[in-house]
């Protein structure tokens, strides 16, 4: 594939291949010389129309580890407000020599539109588009699940038989959307737990089980509980009544953790609202993969750059 826009673009085999490449990248990062020359002379442009320090730094570390040059373009809101269209901005950046454009935007569909219209020749990597998708996050989550639950035998494996609960604001979460798709592609079973106000409509096609509360999901002893960041403005706009009620019904806390098997893991894409969707004790527990996800993010993004580099179609 030339671009990475959606986890929908993956077959089981192509997804596993990227996860396997990421294992090699983890190895590279544990060596004395933590770099590969793969992208020497290539430029990766991080183009962030929405603030996200962690994702930007993760892509930057990945690009540098592959010896690429990195340029960064960040702006609050789009430069459309200055009269320049997204198309013009991207063409300008490409004219400055970008081979890869890592694109983050607050509007859903922007990466798709850029890739479909051939506004630029560069490889497009979707680093999060509105409430649509965040495919590299889903890949690094799948990588983290596979590493934890398959251990040293992970290479070449899918996620068949693994049960994953995604809990919280599914409606507005690009992480949930990308994960639900990719986890199914990799053979996992997915359960969504959320209030009806935070569930998208007509999602039969997602092939996920839907339950109302997190307790219902915990009773099934899932292998993975994936918590999501809750934007606080969802409360003021009436999606749920209060933080305490959200936390009581959909927050991952110690009591719920204690009812899970000791082999189960708890995930969060960060940044966390400690005490809302995840309690501090859970976040810091050995079953939490929060920091591991961050570390795996760099290796996984190296694998993505490496894979796209080898395919220009």
């Amino acid at each position: 594939m030339k671009h990475l826009i959606s986890t929908r673009d993956f077959t089981t085999d192509t997804a596993i291949a990227i996860l396997d490449t990421a294992i090699d990248m983890v190895d590279v990062r544990s060596r004395d010389v933590k770099k590969l020359p793969t992208l020497r002379g290539k430029t990766v442009a991080n183009v962030f129309f929405e603030d996200s320090t962690r994702t930007r730094l993760s892509f930057e570390a990945a690009a540098l580890a592959l010896s690429a040059d990195v340029t960064t373009f960040t702006t609050q809101g789009s430069s459309v407000s200055k009269g320049e269209s997204l198309k013009d901005t991207l063409q300008t950046l490409e004219a400055m020599g970008a081979d890869f454009i890592v694109l983050r935007h607050s509007h859903s569909g922007v990466a798709t539109t850029v890739a479909n219209n051939n506004w630029v020749d560069a490889h497009i990597i979707n680093a999060g588009d509105g409430t649509h998708e965040h495919p590299t996050q889903a890949l690094l989550d799948a990588f983290t699940i596979r590493s934890r639950l398959r251990g040293d035998d992970a290479r070449g494996k899918d996620l068949a038989g693994i049960s994953v609960v995604i809990v919280g604001d599914i409606l507005h979460s690009r992480v949930a959307r990308s994960n639900a798709l990719l986890l199914k592609t990799l053979g996992a079973t997915v359960t969504l737990a959320a209030p009806r106000t935070l569930l998208p409509r007509e999602i039969e096609g997602w092939d996920a089980t839907v339950v109302s509360t997190l307790d219902e999901a915990i009773e099934t002893k899932p292998d993975v509980v994936m918590t999501l960041r809750v934007q606080k403005e969802r409360m003021t706009s009436g999606f749920f009544p209060s933080e305490s009620e959200f936390s009581a019904l959909w927050g991952m806390n110690h009591s719920r953790l204690s009812r899970l098997p000791s082999t189960s893991i708890v995930m969060h894409p960060g940044p966390m609202n400690r005490g809302l969707e995840i309690s501090g004790s859970v976040a810091d527990s050995p079953q939490s993969t929060v920091t591991e996800q961050v570390a795996n993010g760099v290796a996984l993004r190296m694998a993505v750059l490496y894979t796209l580099m080898g395919d220009s179609r």
Binding site: S78, S85, H107, S108, T113, N116, T131, R177, P200
Partner: protein
Amino acid sequence: MTILIRGAALLGKETADILIDGDTIRDIGSLTASADRVIDAHGLIALPGLVDLHAHLREPGGEGSETILSGSRAAAAGGFTTVHAMANTSPVADTAELVELVAERGRHAGYVQVRPIGAVTRNLAGEQLADIGGMAHSAAAVTVFSDDGKCVGDSLVMRRALEYVATFDGVIAQHAQDPRLAIDGVVNEGRVSSELGLRGWPRVAEESIIARDVLLAEYVGARLHICHVSTAGSVDVIRWAKKRGISVTAEVTPHHLLLTDDRALAYDPVYKVNPPLRTSEDVEELRRAVADGTIDIVATDHAPHANSTKDCTWHDASFGMVGLESALSVVQHALVDTGHIGWIDVARVLSVTPAEIGRVDGYASPLTVGCPANITLVDPARSESWSTSRLHGGSTNSPFVGFTLPGHVMSTIFRGIETVSDGTLVAPELVRNA
């Protein structure tokens, strides 16, 4: 000037000749008369000149996407002889001066009769009534009032507007969209919005306003017209209201009769429209509703937009599609060729009834001796891949480019003047000087 049309199938039925003298149909039958101009119409269907109750001609203020002249040319190319121009121009058509200006520019262009629609509320703000009496009594004699683009959302304002407009035998054309329920919605709420992560525009936002407004219309005894009905649930509400005797009429656009929301799956903004494209179940019900008369007319909601607001992201793109040129072809494709309606019904939904709702003279008895010579000749057998070469307005945001559509307008005659001749749009100076 006399024109003799030879051998056209009148409303798709019996073949006859039509003699036009000046701006009037002089004779119909098997004619031996000679004429200044003879049109061989064998194989063509003669329809009354089409009447659009809902078009955005953008002038004044939006001349970058359309002008009254360019929109009139698009209309003539599509077989129209009367077009209602929506009020959401800049400035808004909420005064007598402005509607007179629009009507006068339409007269000057000469391709069609341009009937201005007046705003319901001042500056479309939904608060204070616009100069409704002034517009009704102006030289433009406005009969249709609409805040289209925006819904008259406030229930009390809508009640007063219905009552006040009824004073002048006018009608309110409501853009049914509960502003809170549909807030920031950009695509039909359902499977597609969930997949795309786009804010959904729920069907209930349309249906609840229609339910409220038919009850208001009944209560105050006023006429109500519903713009661009897009859902099966709306059809149910309107069917119920008509059965109850409420004075409500409704329109559907050609695009809602053909396209569904999964067109949005690639985020191509040419399919971004308000109300949004719905599901195939909605499309089927809308077609049935035209056939059974629940939906009275087809209106284009012709909404030209400059390329810069369509060659962009879904979020940044404007809502709307051009539709004047393609309307008759889409109606043939979606309704006639599927067996839902015949050509007599096409004349009803695209000419007689829209004229009746808008109180436009001269369309009540189509293709009869003595009535104004507004005639459209269409070749129903000609089927072509739709391309931008078929467009004659100021913008090219047609969702049908690449579709194979039947029907080609070979002649449009507006008050005895050919605006389309042998399938070709006539030049502005020839139309003006005719």
